[in-house]
Assembly symmetry: C2
Homo-oligomer: 419 residues x 2
């Protein structure tokens, strides 16, 4: 073995041990956190908000380092904007923590319960998941949002952010940990993993028995890699190839409004529409009008989409257009090409709407509403940790309740089982 490889292997083992040690500390902290009252958790969230405001200058200084590095590396203006903090954004981060403090605590909720014929009193209660690992590419505010939601739901969190935001994230997590200690809570409720090496992602998602769930937030590539390599349970989030289907009996004013909003409001987010389906029965009138409106809104229309374009999440001002023959053809198209995120039908026909909502296999199905409504805040969850596109555990926007598990508690007075 060459000397260089030996060093690499040693470094890898060290990084693995670092991640595992952080996970073990998080596990211990999560056990303390699991039994805290709502009042104590809410106080900690307000203390964290105060701390973020108090540390604004050092957080902004750290962010300036990240921005300088990013500029030197030739990062695009759009990416720089995602990375940048300013006093208003720091205020927003603190306000987000206070908002989570105001949400109902999911822990302890009794979901089901009964007394069995033998007198056993059974109840199923919400409990925290334990240790949650979050892998993200996004903006530094995700660091604090994720902390707020996991703390409120009684979970410890291991954060693996982007290396581009390393200084900002470190400043934010240091601030949060100090605030926890100030409240006599374990700092290890939140920890930032090194983003210097890609392998810390792998170590995190393979820490079986130490991490209860890994949530990747980011592009399709990240999510694919996490799902492929993970040994801990994962929740897939946020790939959205969403369709707007304009049914034969659609109000075209409504169709145009919903289509343009779904496509252009924020083309870079997962609930944006990527595909338009127009019913053959109205194609002659509807198509020119809708394509004209798209063009006027600056959208590039792909009227003879390739298979690849039909499967694409453009995340840009592009749209694939297909003429389909009736509701069942629309459903078949959506179930073939969609990613199970959000699908919309525009129609005045009740039977068509019912058939579409019954048969489309997606986290959210909209009738006469824009795809952009699939969002934790819009749904009234107060905040979201991501949008799940898998069917297990959570589907659609994930708020506090989606960050919980359950436990059966059974009270008896000496019951034993006969057979």
């Amino acid at each position: 073995m060459h000397r260089r490889e030996q060093v690499d292997l040693r470094e890898q083992a060290d990084l693995r041990e670092q991640v595992h040690a952080a996970a073990r500390r998080a596990r211990a902290a999560s056990r303390e956190l699991a039994t805290l009252s709502t009042a104590v958790k809410d106080r900690a969230l307000h203390a964290a908000a105060d701390a973020v405001l108090g540390a604004a200058a050092s957080i902004l200084a750290a962010n300036a380092e990240d921005l300088e590095r990013a500029r030197a590396a030739g990062t695009s203006e759009a990416m720089l904007d995602r990375l940048a903090l300013n006093p208003q954004r720091v205020d927003g981060i603190a306000a987000g923590l206070r908002q989570v403090a105001g949400l109902p605590d999911p822990i302890g909720e009794v979901l089901r319960g009964r007394t069995l014929p033998n007198g056993l009193r059974l109840r199923q209660q919400r409990v925290p998941l334990g240790v949650v690992g979050i892998v993200y590419e996004g903006r530094p505010n995700v660091t604090v949002d994720a902390f707020g939601l996991t703390l409120k739901s009684g979970n410890a969190v291991l954060l693996r952010g982007s290396s581009s935001a390393a200084s900002s994230n470190a400043a934010l997590v240091d601030t949060l940990r100090d605030a926890l200690v100030g409240e006599n809570l374990p700092a290890d409720v939140v920890a930032l993993l090194s983003a210097a090496d890609r392998s810390t992602v792998t170590h995190l998602i393979q820490a079986r028995g130490l991490v209860d769930v890994a949530i990747p937030r980011g592009g399709a590539g990240l999510i694919e890699a996490v799902v492929r390599d993970a040994l801990v349970p994962t929740i897939e989030t946020g790939t959205g190839n969403c369709h707007v289907y304009v049914h034969a009996d659609a109000d075209l004013d409504v169709a145009e409004r919903i289509l343009i909003n779904s496509k252009t409001r924020r083309p870079s987010v997962c609930n944006a529409a990527e595909s338009l389906l127009v019913d053959a029965a109205i194609a002659d009138t509807a198509l020119p009008r809708l394509l004209g409106a798209l063009a006027a809104a600056g959208v590039t229309v792909h009227t003879e989409p390739t298979e690849e374009q039909l499967r694409a999440e453009f995340l840009s001002l592009d749209i694939a257009v297909t003429v389909v023959d009736g509701v069942d053809a629309a459903v078949a198209h959506v179930n073939e090409y969609g990613t199970g995120h959000t699908e919309a039908i525009v129609t005045r026909d009740l039977a068509a709407a019912q058939r579409f909502t019954d048969r489309v296999d997606a986290a959210a199905v909209m009738v006469n509403a824009a795809t952009s409504f699939t969002d934790g805040e819009q749904f009234g969850f107060g905040a979201e940790i991501g949008i799940s596109t898998q069917k297990l555990h959570a589907r659609g926007p994930m708020g506090l309740t989606e960050l919980t598990s359950t436990k059966w508690i059974v009270w008896g007075d000496g019951q034993i089982r006969a057979v």
Copy 2:
């Protein structure tokens, strides 16, 4: 490349394609199944029960082939008993299907719903998971039980049973498929994968996009392999290193009864106790009595257990015994060595019971009741597909509701999103 390897690779590719083709047919069938009414599904379950009874002779003949092969291979009597069918067991299999027909249908249940300030009417509804893959080593009745539960919950199922039960399983699945066709339902709602090659398990659990969830039912080795190699979401089931903790304030009559029942009722099942914790405060009196009772019941007592024995799921008349110093030490021991299945405390002290149930991290926590109660039928679910020991999606006994996902359905009248 050698000729032999080329053949193997070709065979592997063929097996993979066989599994994928079955999964694609199951997917198509599941889409039809998802919208069927409860009445149609229940009728199909009764028809399947009738068909099993009608085909009893050929099912028993197929089972005789399996038994003959197993005997020739020198299989133990215990294993032969698990494999064996007889007229009574066939009656039991049919009765199980009728019992599932009598259970409430989980599909369509509205879990949450509200009208948003903008007038959008939101509801979250239970829907089937889609295609469920089940890998099992168990008895042939699992084949039919799994079909019954998945059909009732609107799912198609891919079954990968044990090669030892191949003939029995084939006869049973042929019978079920015929019954479905007789009811004008797609036969592909249920399919049996070849058990001739281990790789069909791998192909099943790696069929991403084709299989929605894989549930391994079997020993720790199978579950470990499935979790390691799976690319589709999985639910871990049934490894139980369960403890009975006898607290300082326990009624020793109750403690003895619960301990003996938890250990000896059926030592081979996952909810059997494998470890006894006795509080140091009463060790002098409790230990001789409990150890005496265990010995009298034929249990081998390991009073100085090794680390390995503390982690063992004996599944035999063995028990590890540890003296612990108070509730917190008991909780720490259980959380360190348990598998998160079922943990029991025996006590008359309310605070101790509360502290134990709050802090133990397991699917089920019993107060003054035997560990053996963790079971879908005992909990009143009617039947179970397994007992989940993971925290994601389902924890504890899994009945019909645990075989479902959810879908958000949003009705609007032209709403678009402003920001």
